[in-house]
């Protein structure tokens, strides 16, 4: 059949499909049948060697129809909530060994270095510069903790700073983890070292001890656990690269990323919550210290209970 004849015969079909594709035809139920005929047209066109313009025109139309038919995901409004409340803790529990390694990297290093600095404060200078240590001590003086920020405007600024800084660190630890998990572990160790040195340094001095611990107790549960989870998710990706099991490396990493996606999103949400607390609650001088400790303790208990108990039996 000549090309001209072919185009004339099928013009009505192509026009109908074109109408459905650009939305001028509201009733799309005929599309599957029309699409199959269009595919047949394309196959004939290619086999008979018609001009590239017709072939490309049909190819583009086929691509658009394919997307329309197969590309729409079903919208389920409760998915996000279920995903966060069930999938997130379940995936974290499934990787408890990696979680243990990550916690060891953070808390183990923090504890170890903290104990060392507690016994010999001079060691602090081998981990941080004297200016940084002096600045930290200055920040946590009882008189400075609120004045340094300057009322509620300062709180918003610190909120912005924590959101930008902390969540970005979480994301970068996650991304870095793909290289065999090493950058994520290094990030955890570095943060643990930082925490340990500052905690020991400020606890040595009675003036700053109270302000420091009441400051960190609330938000640390969310922030530290969030960072650990983000790094753990990154380490899972890196592990999939090194030890892909029965899949090819690309497929193994893809499968691991599918599993760890709720974890990284959950971790980001937790760090965001921590930033909220850290900015508006932790530094407030109007809230008495024992309330802060109680709420902080509740925060830790909540986080632990969530990851141990949430989502069990509903997978």
């Amino acid at each position: 059949m000549k090309q001209h004849q072919f185009e004339a015969d099928n013009a009505a079909l192509w026009q109908e499909i074109g109408a459905i594709l650009d939305g001028s035809q509201a009733d799309r139920r005929a599309l599957p049948v029309l699409y199959r005929r269009l595919c047949q047209c394309l196959a004939l066109c290619r086999q008979r060697g018609y001009s590239p313009a017709v072939a490309d025109y049909l190819q583009t139309m086929v691509g658009d129809c394919h997307r329309l038919l197969y590309g729409n995901a079903v919208q389920r409004p409760t998915t996000l909530l279920r995903w966060m409340l069930v999938d997130f803790p379940c995936r974290v529990r499934a990787e408890w060994r990696l979680l243990l390694v990550a916690m060891l990297a953070l808390f183990g290093v923090a504890l170890g270095i903290g104990v060392l600095v507690w016994h010999d404060p001079q060691l602090a200078y081998s981990f941080m510069t004297p200016e940084e240590l002096a600045q930290v001590r200055q920040m946590y003086q009882p008189s400075n903790i609120k004045v340094g920020r300057g009322s509620s405007e300062g709180d918003v600024m610190m909120f912005g700073h924590y959101v930008w800084n902390n969540i970005s660190i979480g994301f970068r630890s996650f991304a870095g983890g793909i290289f065999g998990g090493i950058p994520a572990l290094l990030s955890l160790a570095f943060n643990g070292m930082h925490m340990g040195v500052i905690a020991a340094w400020l606890s040595k001095d009675a003036a700053t001890r109270e302000t420091f611990w009441s400051f960190v107790i609330t938000h640390s549960s969310f922030e530290v656990v969030g960072l650990v989870l983000a790094s753990m998710a990154g380490m899972k990706l890196g592990l999939a690269l090194i030890h892909p099991g029965r899949l090819g490396r690309g497929h193994a990493v893809h499968a691991a990323s599918e599993k760890m996606f709720p974890v990284i999103v959950g971790a980001a949400l937790m760090i965001f919550l921590a930033a909220f607390f850290e900015a508006f609650w932790s530094a407030s001088t109007t809230i008495p210290v024992h309330i802060k400790y109680t709420v902080g303790g509740l925060g830790w208990a909540l986080v632990l209970a969530f990851f141990v108990f949430a989502g069990r039996g509903r997978q």
């Binding site: 000549k2 090309q3 001209h4 699409y35 199959r36 595919c39 394309l42 196959a43 290619r46 086999q47 008979r48 060697g49 018609y50 001009s51 590239p52 313009a53 017709v54 072939a55 490309d56 025109y57 190819q59 583009t60 086929v62 691509g63 394919h66 997307r67 590309g71 995901a73 920020r149 300057g150 405007e153 300062g154 709180d155 918003v156 600024m157 610190m158 909120f159 912005g160 700073h161 959101v163 930008w164 969540i167 970005s168 994301f171 970068r172 996650f174 991304a175 870095g176 793909i178 290289f179 950058p183 990706l237 690309g250 990493v253 893809h254 990323s257 599918e258 996606f261 990284i264 999103v265």
Partner: protein, 225 residues
């Protein structure tokens, strides 16, 4: 039919092939540069607009966070897989099976931009793109996406108004397609080039230069009409 362009063909459930052309590192780098400038300009504008002082600074940092991580993700999910830079370069992000990207794919590939950046200036990403057949960087492999050229709709030429001529020997489908293609892009070729092609086609038409081109036009009219 074997074509020398680097197209990926994916077989659909209907048994035909979708043709996608993966985009190389150069175009993607240019698109990234454009996106970076767009983002910096937007941030500078925000910096000017927000009130000075701590409140403004806090809001600015929050805006910086959401635009830095959120801009590519929102563009890819809601604007057909194309950020402004990709739109300028004619690129598109699709899933490995040719379908539009979802939240998970877009978020994962953009979070792993940091991994591609290491050790410096996207070196890991570049090496990965050069080693992979489909030009995927680390983020693309993890998320299961590819960056392809966006197919523009080609304008269909009106049929040739020439008297049909029979070719001296039968031409197969490939050859007919090649001849038809010549007259579709006729407008973008200078006359000297057309004449040169006509001379090259002398074994087919028995003529040279512009006469040969007219003979071929007759052949094409013959097998399309």
């Amino acid at each position: 039919m074997r074509l020398l362009d680097g197209r990926l063909s994916l077989i659909t459930p209907e048994g035909i092939r979708l043709l996608l052309t993966p985009a190389g590192p150069y175009l993607r780098a240019v698109a990234w540069t454009i996106d970076f400038f767009v983002w910096s300009t937007a941030l500078s504008l925000l910096f000017v607009i927000f009130p000075k002082g701590k409140l403004g600074q806090g809001l600015y940092l929050i805006a910086m966070f959401f635009t830095y991580w959120g801009y590519p993700i929102i563009c890819e999910v809601y604007f057909g897989g194309r950020t402004l830079g990709k739109r300028a370069m004619g690129l598109e992000v699709v899933r490995a099976d040719g379908l539009p990207v979802g939240w998970r794919e877009s978020t994962l590939r953009n979070l792993l931009l940091t991994a591609d950046f290491l050790p410096m200036m996207y070196l890991s990403g570049l090496i990965c793109m050069m080693l992979d057949v489909k030009f995927r960087r680390i983020g693309d492999i993890v998320a299961g996406t590819i960056v392809v050229h966006h197919e523009r709709k080609l304008v269909r030429m009106p049929p040739l108004s020439a008297a049909p001529l029979a070719p001296p020997f039968p031409l197969n489908a490939d050859q007919q397609r090649t001849l038809a293609d010549l007259f579709e892009r006729e407008r973008s070729l200078p006359l000297e080039r057309l004449a040169e092609l006509g001379t090259i086609a002398e074994p087919l038409t028995g003529k040279t230069g512009a006469d040969s081109v007219e003979a071929m036009r007759g052949y094409v009219a013959g097998f399309t009409q």
